[in-house]
Symmetry: C2
Subunit: 109 residues, 2 copies
DNA sequence: TTTAATACATCGTATAACAAAGTATATAAA
DNA sequence: TTTATATACTTTGTTATACGATGTATTAAA
């Protein structure tokens, strides 16, 4: 079991990595919010709650990195699908560069 | 020049990585606060201000990951040297494991 | 004598994850 | 039938932490 310090640290680390992982995921395939939570968990082992993901998606839309489209379902609640924009793609590319640099710094020490 | 989104993202990423880099640096060699700012910049290219590093060091001491010792100088202001504790070392080891896992996740996609 | 570098400290602000609570639909179990 | 569970989106309040701004003090160089 992780101690308080490590749990807290994990949370802070997530603050930086989550926007990157979300843009990365949406760059590969459009998703709706609830689906994204599953995707992050299944493919990356990253656990996020709805109260984290929905405000984040709203923020990324305000920054013009994402757009959304409501899609009605034959049954059940409509889904809000998110798509990465060109702005989103260029920002993601910058983020990838930064991440690669940081990884190199971590590995070279 | 980075846009607002990316500058902000850099800051958030730092929130997670900084405690790791600080512990890592102090694990290699004890430092005083002002020296640590130079070390982080010179060896990792990470720019932090005093209003970031001093509260962080205080926090890591409260968590028992660090201890400090004042060292008087022949001339000038006394220096507060920080040393990593056993608790600090074990937490750093956990952080290293997490970081390695995250790097693997980033690289495998 | 004034500027800059060294060295430590603190206050206020902004950002963002997350718990908690809420709304709504659909299905399976009791 | 009622209840629980899963799906799907939203918002409010709390908490953690980087950082700008500001302050104190010492020393050396311009």
């Amino acid at each position: 079991m992780k101690n308080e310090f490590l749990k807290n640290w994990d949370t802070q680390l997530k603050k930086g990595l989550l926007p990157f992982f979300v843009l990365q995921a949406l760059n590969q395939k459009e998703c709706y919010g609830y689906e994204l939570i599953q995707t992050l968990k299944d493919s990356l082992g990253i656990e996020v709650t709805e109260s984290t993901i929905y405000p984040l998606l709203i923020r990324l839309m305000k920054e013009d990195l994402l757009i959304h489209k409501w899609v009605e379902q034959q049954s059940g609640i409509p889904r809000k699908y998110y798509f990465i924009t060109e702005v989103g793609k260029s920002n993601l590319a910058e983020m990838q560069k930064s991440i690669v640099e940081i990884i190199e710094k971590i590995q070279q020490q």
